[in-house]
Amino acid sequence: MTNPEGLRYTREHEWIKVEGEKGRIGITHYAQDQLGDVVFVELPKKGRQLRQMEAFGAVESVKAVSDLYCPVSGEVVEVNSALEQKPELINQDPYGQGWMIVVKVRNAKELTALMSAQQYTSFLAQGAK
């Protein structure tokens, strides 16, 4: 599975898609595959202020609990409420319907600290956790 171009990636396996002043955030295909069947997601409320790499919630599979880290600083402006009833969207469509939050990007420079698709692919190939 190739990691979509045009997204930026964290070492904790989150992706961010820049949409104007905002960034849409989720977890990668690798992350959902490692987790297995996702059964529960805990997401922040709209208005929450986050710093880069601050934990913003948790994703739970049958057997595991994993914290979620925000790729950039900003305010949460949208939360994917569909995930409450259908957490499996994260497994089925991690880059599409499995999106988790949208934040208003406070400082676009922070994106440079993240990996490109190619860098993330190499990162995984080197056995990254």
Partner: protein
Amino acid sequence: MSAPEGPLKRTPLNHVHRALGAKMVPFGGWDMPVQYSGILEEHRAVRTAAGLFDVSHMGEFEIAGPEALPALQRLITNDASRLAPGQVQYAALTYPNGTFVDDLTVYRVGPSQFMLTVNAANIEKDYAWVRGHLTGRATATNVSDETALIALQGPKAPEILQPLTPVNLGALKYYWFTSGRVGGLEARISRTGYTGEDGFEIYLPAVQAERLWNTLLERGKGVGLLPCGLGARDTLRLEAKMALYGNDIDDQHTVLEADLGWIVKWEKGEFLGREVLARQKAEGIARKLTGFEMVGRGIARSHYKIVKDGRPIGEVTSGGPAPFLGKAIGLGYVETAFSAIGTEFDILIREQPVRARVVPSPFYKRPKK
């Protein structure tokens, strides 16, 4: 749960699991499949059709000799003298303080011949314990390495297995076993399991495991049989409120605290731990293994704290989603005063209290035919 040092052990089916694309994990010193197609899918297959499990990592001991019965009686809480040849019972091996060496199933093969099936992570410990405490003319032999165990579980298990064996499965009752050929191979067929469904656990020589596995998988394909891993094994047994050694039972909790008084047969004679357990029965237990379901939004997991009005009253031992029931459930030791059905308390999940309620368990009971 401690695992032995050294490389992970492999069952005879290890390469078969890998060929099927299983995700492998270490479990109690063994390299085991945790899932093939996915835990939720496998769980549902067992409840609606059938699942196939490799549980060859488990241990088997043969207890024999003219005084095998009295020797065994002194080690376990249940009454093995009630077993007819061909019958099985669930029991505990106990320390003198009434806590668990292990939980196990006891098979009566003959008047003075038994097989014990024990947990994989406890094989060495249990064998040393049994050998060290057998009295009189009785012997114990560890046949774990030569013995494979394959479990076929689910409502369709009988229709998958029957064409493969001359044994009349309709006459084989729950918690009974017999010897017979399966797919041409000599085996011991036991109507037991760890899922809460109808099904069979099939014991046979390790060298023949692969043949049997493939035969069963092929036969069951048409009716929805799926290979299932330890992930689904855990979610299934939790719905059926079956204890897991290391989580719900261990050497820190007594058989009565674990709500397993029904496997203690007080009138059968002396056994290790009887005195302590009898005293505990008379005085009452301070904490009890209790089944609960989540009321608030969240999933309880092992080691999460249980609180009542902010005061700690216990700890979760096992917890997770119940895929068939569509809710989150768990087991935990709580102060006895809070173990009654309907009692509400909170589980601390990432430091936040989330409401839970004591419910009757098993959480799931298979439909009566």
